[in-house]
């Protein structure tokens, strides 16, 4: 009986084995890549909104504080979106005829709320609380990025669990003084260094400032920040 497999079949066999291994790995990598891609996370994706609101113009250009619109950010888990009335405090006087603002005027006239598309959308089993972060010295910029440079709003970070945990494991990397939370351009200057150095801490950089603030703001380092029920329930 003639040989079924010629010698070169060996090569094919080896190549196939290698091919399967490589193929599966590549598939895995692709899947992992897709999972982390903006396609899934919406990172950096500008969403359609009823009004093309520009944070750049309002924050950078006009110097309006975050809390003028996001009123409950320090008191509640939800930062709050401004009611139409807040928009109309200015826009009943300026840009009163701008076509772009027609939905705002309609809302005000007819008493029907604006419907914004949520930009930072966490899964339903995640309970993020703005107030405690803001009160303990996590700046807006830390999570939301340079909002004052965004002419249209998008999500700066992945908002994936790994990204959350990076900070929950080592909060010192991102802590800043409470009064600097809403500062879009926070930098550690001499005054900060002086003010936050004490008997146990010499503040020279973010790391040392963060450690000083961990003590000052009683940030738990015993693992509570990474306990499951801290964010999931």
């Amino acid at each position: 009986m003639a040989q079924v497999f010629r010698p070169r079949a060996n090569t094919i066999a080896r190549a196939s084995i290698a091919g399967v291994v490589i193929g599966v790995s590549v598939l895995g990598l692709v899947a992992a890549g897709v999972d982390r891609s903006p396609y899934v996370t919406n990172q950096g994706v500008v969403r359609d909104q009823p009004v093309p609101f520009s944070h750049e113009h309002h924050v950078n250009g006009l110097g309006i504080d975050c809390r003028y619109c996001h009123t409950s950010v320090g008191d509640s888990g939800f930062a709050g979106l401004p009611p139409t009335k807040t928009c109309m405090t200015c826009h009943s006087r300026i840009w009163t005829d701008a076509p772009l603002l027609a939905p705002v005027r309609d809302s005000w006239r007819e008493g029907v709320p604006l419907q914004w598309t949520r930009v930072h959308n966490l899964p339903d089993f995640v309970y993020f609380q703005h107030d405690i972060h803001v009160n303990k010295g996590i700046g807006c910029v830390t999570c939301h990025g340079p909002v004052d440079q965004m002419s249209l709003m998008f999500q700066q970070n992945t908002l994936q669990m790994k990204w959350c945990l990076d900070c929950h494991y080592s909060p010192e990397k991102h802590l800043r003084p409470r009064e600097q939370v809403f500062n879009m351009h926070f930098a550690i200057d001499d005054q900060i260094k002086r003010e936050y150095s004490d008997a146990n801490h010499v503040v020279t950089d973010q790391e040392s400032l963060g450690k000083a603030l961990i003590d000052r703001y009683h940030i738990p380092t015993d693992g509570r920040l990474t306990s499951c029920y801290t964010c999931h329930r």
């Binding site: 999972d35 008191d75 329930r233």
Partner: protein
Amino acid sequence: MTNDSSTTSAKRYWRSLEELSDAADVQRRAMDEFVPSQLDDPDAVSRRGFMKVIGASAALAGFGAASGCKRKADETIVPYVSQPQGVVPGKPLYFATAMTLGGYAQGIVAQSREGRPVKLEGNPDHPASLGASDVFMQAALLGLYDPDRSQAVTYGGNISGWDSFIGAIRPRLETKQKNGSGLAILTETITSPTLIDQIARMKKQYPGARWFGHDPIDRENVRAGLRQATHKEILPRYDFSKARVIVSLDSNFLQDEPGHVRYGRDFIDGRRIRAGTTEMNRLYVIESTHTITGSMADHRWAVRPSEIAEIARSLADILRASGALSPSSGTPGEGRGGGSTQPASIAQTAPTLTLPRSTGGGANAQARDWLRAIAKDLLALRGKSLVVAGAHQPPEVHAIVHSINEALGNIGATVIYGAPIESQPDGLLPDLVAEMDRGAVDLLVILGGNPAYTAPADLNFAQRLENFSIQGNADGSWRNLTVHSSLYEDETSFRCQWHLPQAHFLEEWSDVAAYDGTVSIVQPLIEPLYGGRSAIEVMHVLLETWLGRGYDIVRGFWREKIGENFEAAWTRGVARGVLDVPGASPTSPSSHTPGESRGGGSTQPALTAQTAPTLALPRGTGGGNKAGASESGSEFELIFRPDPNIWDGCFANNGWLQELAKPLTKLTWDNAALLSATSAAQLDVHNGEMLRITTSAGTLDVPALILPGQPDQTITLHLGYGRVRAGNVGNNVGFNAYTIRENARPWITTAKVARTGEKYPLVTTHAHQTIAQRGLPGPVPLEAGVVAHPNDENLDNRRLVRVGTLSQFVEDPMFAKKLDESQRHSLTLYPGYENVYKQNLAWGMSIDTHSCIGCNACVIACQAENNIPVVGKDQVSRGREMHWIRIDTYFEGTPEAPSGTFHQPIPCMQCENAPCELVCPVGATVHDTEGINDMVYNRCVGTRYCSNNCPYKVRRFNFLSYNDYNTETLKLARNPEVTVRSRGVMEKCTYCIQRITATRIEMEKLQVELEEQARHAEPAEAEEFRRKSAKLRQQLLDKLQTACQQSCPTEAIVFGNLNSAVDPIHEIEPDHMSKVKSLKAHPLDYGLLEELTTRPRTTYLARITNPNPEVHAS
């Protein structure tokens, strides 16, 4: 309780008869948590079928992987147009309001989130609830969002509108204005001052108009009895806090009476055990069906209902005989004052007491001894005792009970009489029927209630109403106009021409009065979901023939009543939930209306002594029943009772209540004929076998269910089941007891009972989630729930329930702890956590089995708070109910005559060495730094290993997708702070982590804020800021409650921080100890299965009973 024990008496405590007899099914359940239902054929899946499924799954997984990467759906954020003042987005608001049960108010504080009520709690300022609640209050929330509620005005079943209704009724009303007669309204029990005023005005406006009342659960007998005894229109309320000896003659005051939530609290406050306690109140219960009140008794005696009157009479006789010997009996005022000298004299006279005449009936020698002991107890505590009779007992019993309380000087002390809170209608349902038959009515407006369903069968009201509605004139027009306003388009609406959707109490402005007369304003939490209108608004249509706003009507009434300072009083009343009514009788339970009780009392003992002996035999009930009862055979005494879950049937469409395991029977989704084991044997029926019950009013087939503690020759039927127009949940559930209820004898009657031979699947949860003896070394008998008395020298049991007497406790306060042969273990599998636990907040819970009355409020509170789904009867039959906290009920003694009944609420124990955590392959259940066993839904893959390894059986698995993701209104009911779980996920009690987190965040914000201020302040002020911070944080912590704790009427559940203080340095009181911490140091504290070294954070306090030694002796 040894290994070879085969007799049933070997078991001391048991949850079900099957368990007592070691039925195979129970054994199996005890060993294998996930018992397939009888309907599941384990062999149904062949190997080939299995491969097919696996192959298909693998193929689908490929698609799934692709679809799994799909992007999240977009969400929208909808801000206000103009944000209301006081609203902080994401934070709940709380509003005071009130609900009624049987007409009587219970104060509520409702939590509102983004404009929708999501949780109801008792109002701490309201005397009837004191911040606690019952199952009805907790479940009322689901009633609001019920998609089956009626959503439109209908005329003859077709959708119509309010304008058409007013157009139709206006001409009728205009004629009435001239000649008056023909207008009748029918209501349930009403306590609303505004509505009562409207009815009075209606009668003035339409002179012939008449008001009829029908409430299937009324207090007519109490009223009649007291009328007979005092010739006054009065109703009693009780002050259990002052009662040291309580005798309940068939009264289920912990569940059925108006004010029962308050009664529960007062009753338990009178018997709380703390270190050093040497006395507590004593409860004697003589009852005709086993109730939760009976389960709390120190002495319980099951008698047939007809015997109660005889017993009351005997008790009165004994007391009178001894009272004659008492030097001060003539003047109760002095008698109470001279109480200190009395016990001695009574002790002397008591042994010589004899029964003046035979106690007759079923009362035997033992009963006489009992009564003598009770009498002695009562006489020793004049003015501090209380005899209370069930509202369903005939008027004679209430008259006798009045004379007893009178003679004991209890009136004004523990029994407070007052003019009835509920308003008295002109007539009852039979009177209305007579009027209708006479043709004297041509416009019938039924406000609420469901008389076509709840009317006694022999009135045949449903048929009469239907005929009445379709009666025509000669010219083809309708002779009569019938209107029914109700929450559902129910049995009555179906038989009326017009149906008006009623507003839920969370949607309406109204007012109601509580058991003690306290008036609350009912304020709406939400706009009517389905366009409903309140009863007050419908009444307004009758008066004015146009639709008014409830807000204006209620305010208008009170503006007139209060007069000046109205606005201030109104604002305060609405905010607080209790309205200060000028000139009204004081609302404090300790006060009473002068002249009616103590003042008039001085003349009444004479009256008592003279009239009581000549009291006539009970009308019909007593004489007739006794004769029937003494006959052997199938003649039974039939007892009707409000259902502990769905009351008179008005909650029939509430899934939470339907699925709730009823106290004692643990029956779900049904009612049954409750009977004793002896009677069952006599009738040759087992649980679930049908009985045919025949009364003079009709015949009903009902499945039998044996209730330990039920007197022989009696059957108890709960009202409210067997509805056909309740809605999707309540239709055709259970058996309609109204179909055999008689008008003349609505509560107690006689019936012929026979078995039919058919079977019916009753589902009880007694045998579910059994804490079995697994994992213990050596051969152990399969005795779930077996526990030991202090005297038992038995190591092979689990000592789940620990019970002792007061004298035992006084002698050896630590007796319950000593039952652990191995004291608490210090071993831990999580080294390193010890220090963490000491530094942080450490959560713990203490559950007092001594205080738990088994009312189930915690179960529903948990369900509402934690978005727990309803699974349905079929799933419950497979042991898949989802409640995170359950109440295990243990009976002691024999099924024929159980000597004790004990309740034990079981939530997750939050073990420090949690067995569940070790076996989870994916780390979905892990420990946190504050000692809570975290259950992470998004990690769970559904192996159920954790549940298998849980010795307490507190983990619940979502076998199917139980949550309703489609019904829009039900979404509104959910707590946004808690994840809605899907299929394939394990869940369990979290100690209400959402509440903990909220409190912790507030505490930490406060701390940081005040410390910052301190830093910028002068040193002297700085210290002040730090102290303030510590104080405020401690306050927040002390206010933190779990849902079960908050709902508990008796404060049996206490939760909190086990570490001493939030801030040891700046603590205001250095020795401040949380309530839970002090309870953990309580001598009666014990943990379940501590020998397994689980180190549960939830521990229990043992139950203490206070038996009368003289009763034991006899």
